[in-house]
């Protein structure tokens, strides 16, 4: 069974038809710029020696991340991964907290206990990833299971990279979701490189979305540089899951535009490949669409870019003021206490 390959999004009317108004369109642009801006600033912080350990980015994946996150409902949940900064931003994580996380400060979402984009915020429906990819994929399936048991109209998003799709967790999670028709949307960010391993050494099928048929649900391939197409496909899949139609597997194709992490110069990626995908940069592409099709004015664009710049400056300053974690707190939270269960998320 061939998977469906999603069409690009064209007209303004088509965008309105999938539920986005002008403010939404600008919001998407703002989130994409903010996500990239945070990671660009992160590079500087890293070079300044302010980020311990290593540093990971998702350059090239902004459209995929923001497109999916924008399609999620307020009560939907998910476990975004290390290329999905845009999900955190679109869901409302404050950038200063992310900078604080990068620098291992007390105000980072993990209070210095974990680094990078290993963050979550249960109030925003986001749950922190682990390095063992895609361990959070079947966890998201469990979230969908809870919604199904309680008959709630909520959806869980399970992210996975094309590299991690080779692991058993991906299979067990997708199989269970298919068997029980759980309200889960699987998003495979296929950025074509798992560290230095090219996609063709990771899977033998033409498209990872082809696997969906084996699990009894629908698969779709979308151009991950087209934020509106990603949004449309994610919205369709989320709505379907919410209505009891079961899971969908969305394969979002991009190129990882930097190394696996900051220490990796990605010299194994052919230069022409970078050049080709640089011409399809998701932010440039969306900006052009906004200017040409949505008539974004100079004034509107300036307001957005200046606003993002201001936000990043203020966030960075606030994060730098955040204290280092107190070593006396080292053992705090190894175990949870009973009173922590009395949160809305554990009732």
């Amino acid at each position: 069974m061939a998977v469906r390959e999603a069409e690009p999004v064209g007209s303004l009317q088509e965008v309105h038809d999938v539920g986005l108004d002008r403010e939404d369109l600008f919001g998407i642009y703002r989130s994409m710029l903010t996500a990239r801006g945070i990671e660009e600033r992160g590079h500087i912080l890293y070079k300044q020696g302010k980020i311990p350990g290593s540093f990971y980015t998702g350059r090239g994946n902004e459209a995929s991340a923001v497109g999916v996150a924008t399609a999620m409902g307020a009560d939907d949940v998910g476990c975004p991964l290390q290329r999905d900064m845009g999900v955190h931003i679109a869901r409302g994580v404050e950038p200063w907290r992310i900078f604080a996380q990068y620098m291992g400060r007390a105000d980072g979402p993990t209070k210095g206990r974990d680094g990078n984009v290993h963050i979550g915020d249960a109030r925003l429906g986001l749950h922190a990833m682990v390095s063992h990819l895609p361990a959070m994929l079947p966890v998201a399936v469990g979230m969908g299971l809870a919604f199904r048991i309680r008959e709630e109209r909520r959806v869980a998003i399970a992210w996975c990279g094309e590299g991690a799709a080779a692991r058993g967790d991906a299979h067990e999670g997708m199989n269970l979701a298919g068997v029980r028709r759980l309200p889960v949307v699987f998003v495979i960010d296929n950025n074509q490189w798992a560290y230095s391993t090219p996609a063709h050494l990771g899977h033998a099928v033409d498209h990872l979305a082809d696997r969906a048929a084996a699990y009894g649900f629908e698969g779709v391939v979308v151009d991950g540089t087209d934020v509106l197409a990603v949004y449309r496909e994610a919205k369709r899949a989320i709505d379907k899951a919410r209505d009891g139609g079961g899971p969908t597997l969305i394969e979002s194709v991009t190129l990882r535009m930097e190394g696996h992490a900051v220490h990796d110069d990605a010299s194994y990626v052919p230069r022409e490949m970078f050049e080709e995908w640089a011409r399809r940069d998701p932010i440039d592409r969306y900006r052009t669409w906004l200017r040409d099709t949505a008539a974004m004015t100079d004034a509107e664009e300036d307001e957005i870019t200046a606003g993002v710049k201001r936000l990043l400056n203020e966030s960075l300053q606030r994060a730098e003021e955040s204290p280092q974690p107190d070593p006396a707190t080292l053992l705090d939270g190894v175990f949870a206490t009973q009173d922590e269960l009395d949160t809305p998320h554990h009732k």
Partner: protein
Amino acid sequence: MAERTYLQAISDGLRQEMRLDPRVFVLGEDVGVYGGAFKVTDGFQAEFGPWRVLDMPLSETAIVAGATGAALMGMRPVAEMQFADFVSCAWDHLVTVAAKQHYRAGTPIPIVLRLPSGGGFSGGPFHSQNPESLFAHIPGLKVVCPATPEDAKGLLVTAIEDANPVLFFEHKHLYRRIKGEVPDERYSTPFGKARIHREGDDIVVVTWGAMVYTAADAAEIVAAEGISVEVLDLRTLIPWDREAVLESARRTSKVLVLHEDTRTGGFGAEIAATVAEEAFEYLDGPVKRIAAPDSPVPFSPPLEAAYLPQIDDVVAGLRELAAY
């Protein structure tokens, strides 16, 4: 109060919690229609329906990860591994995700993993293990090993109430062999409180699970020789009752640590080291360990009998300590 087997007590405790709390649900292989490989959840699906007693695919990873995700959404999953041995397939999800999520992200993972464990009936290398020490080594996990029907029910209630991932090791050899009075009403047995199974003055045997009975039988034999042996049942390994162990060590002055898990790196080593560190000056002899040897659990009865600590082994150890 009624006489119940260890297995019935677990079943009763679980059913009681499910009646009380709609967030509690069961997931595992063959737990629904079939009622579980050992029939702990027999009749549960008829009472609670197919979405609270979920027959799962052969996917230990998805069972544990699914429980974790459901717990993050406010449920109280009780997952069954058909045999404790199979938890190795879900290692990553216990150790990488469930154990660390609260420390990193501040979100509790209140899950219970029921683990039918232990040997004694030719289950072979893959249906007989006692892997509790592996998990006791992982910060963030709690480890429970009940020995009596009363404790099995009370500790299961505490496990379900607990805000953390709890590994509940139920010893298969106790399921139908051990009976005891179990209160009908709901009660909880606290974690980290050891139980004196048998009182004694000369030597304390620190143990848990099925070995409590091996120790008690050995104590009975040496009692005729005038050796008074206390049997201290730890009940839970994480947290473990250091104070009770140290108190008994100081009082009796001789300590034998007994477990069915293998010797090297077994939890007995932690107990022995703690006694040596904290109660050295009270000891009248070396802390002795009796445990399974460092090999897989063999299948054939004479090999398995040689592998599992036997009453005679404990008797010999007690005599040796008494004579020291």
